[in-house]
Amino acid sequence: MKAFTYERAGSPAEAAAIVGRTQGARFIAGGTNLLDLMKLQIETPTHLVDVNHLGLDRIEATPEGGLRIGALVRNTDLAADKRVRKDYALLSRALVAGASGQLRNKATTAGNLLQRTRCPYFYDTNQPCNKRKPGSGCAAIGGINRSMAVIGASDACIATHPSDMAIAMRALDAVVETVRADGATRAIPIAEFHTLPGDTPNVENTLAAGELITAVTLPKPIGGTHIYHKVRDRASYAFALVSVGAILQKDGSGRVAFGGVAHKPWRVEAAEAALAQGAKAATALAFAGAKPTEQNKFKLVLAERTLAAAIAEARA
């Protein structure tokens, strides 16, 4: 690990200002992803700004009938919140499908959205990786790419976003609230938050330098049956090969977002109109233009079958 200086910020705006003006500075919240990457020198911050004691750890009702989730709310606390379990069960289910109990006790809502990929070539500093070292190439494209993206990838990067929580947030139309280094605040719809790799896979979201997530808001509940199906190599404590986060209504309509398939949570609103016709029709539209590799083309079949299982469960 490279040496770094450390400070506790006094307020969210101060934290953003410090990170905005300090070369090599990073925020640290739960630290479960950042410290892992720092030990491997994939992340090498020279200054850490601790945002754990800024009062961003509350879940509050919004005037619109939704919930405002503080950026520092731990994954365990979010999954266990009574309102979330009752009205946004998809979010609870996605959270408890991810990581381990120990990690969920530390990992935060904002940190979960900002997780880096678990592409093995991103983690292997002996290999080229455009995400880790822009311009160095992509070892995954010609390598072992069974776990990689099947859609939305580029010639520069085929990594996936690892988060389960983000899949639920995408299906729930969450909004990310931030404060920027100059103190200005803004709200970013989750659909516009994560980015596709394109030529700059090192850029993973639309946050500016020093911009700090302060909360994630959920609109008022939409009812329906909430299902999160995660298919992985182990029964627990493994990243998704494919996951399906679905909210299905009695009339056959619904929403669906897919995990483990792209550089961001994959939701195609136009494909949801076909949900009433079944999983085959909906996945055909959601994955139109997919470019899987020989090793990961199974994900397209798996996505359809996983969605079919979710639809069957909702109808049962």
Partner: protein, 215 residues
Amino acid sequence: MHGPGEFELSRRGILVGGAASVAMTAAPPIAEAQEAASAGAGAPVLARVTLKVNGKPHTLELDTRTTLLDALREHLQFTGTKKGCDHGQCGACTVIVDGRRINSCLSLAVMHEGDSVTTIEGLGTAEKLHPMQAAFVKHDGYQCGYCTPGQICSAVAVLDEIRAGIPSHVTGDVAGKPAMSAEEIRERMSGNICRCGAYSNIVEAISEVAARRKA
């Protein structure tokens, strides 16, 4: 960092203990020195932190890079907590901080100013075992024992989490109360890996404590 007293202890270990204790006592400072040297232009940064470990406060001057795990093991000699993967994948380093289990390897000591840390040494003693320790002994919930302190800290917290109604991946209705079942225990213990494969006995040990405390 290490005070003069600890350094003398290390020197003494080298002088009187022979090769084996050289490796045991000298290894941590050497590892830290190498880490500091590889930092290049960024010189090591020291910070003061006070941790309450097993009920007793300890003030340390640490390199900011020191994890909670290394602070416990190398600076406070609470060596019951083990370093397995050092990347949050195995659970051997699990300790309970302010009532919640965490991977101490993925947390910086300086971020725990004023926090209460419970390690395996704080749960029970050789003379007075914690009920979970006694159950692990009774059910043979280990072979080599390396993962055991983490398994036991995790298991104690798991039962509290189920009682608190925190849902898991196998909870049928997330809005309802999770069951105190072997299935729930297995899922919630998935962050603690046992290379010897003592899992079935571990589940039996935890289940016995769960049933006893439920009654």
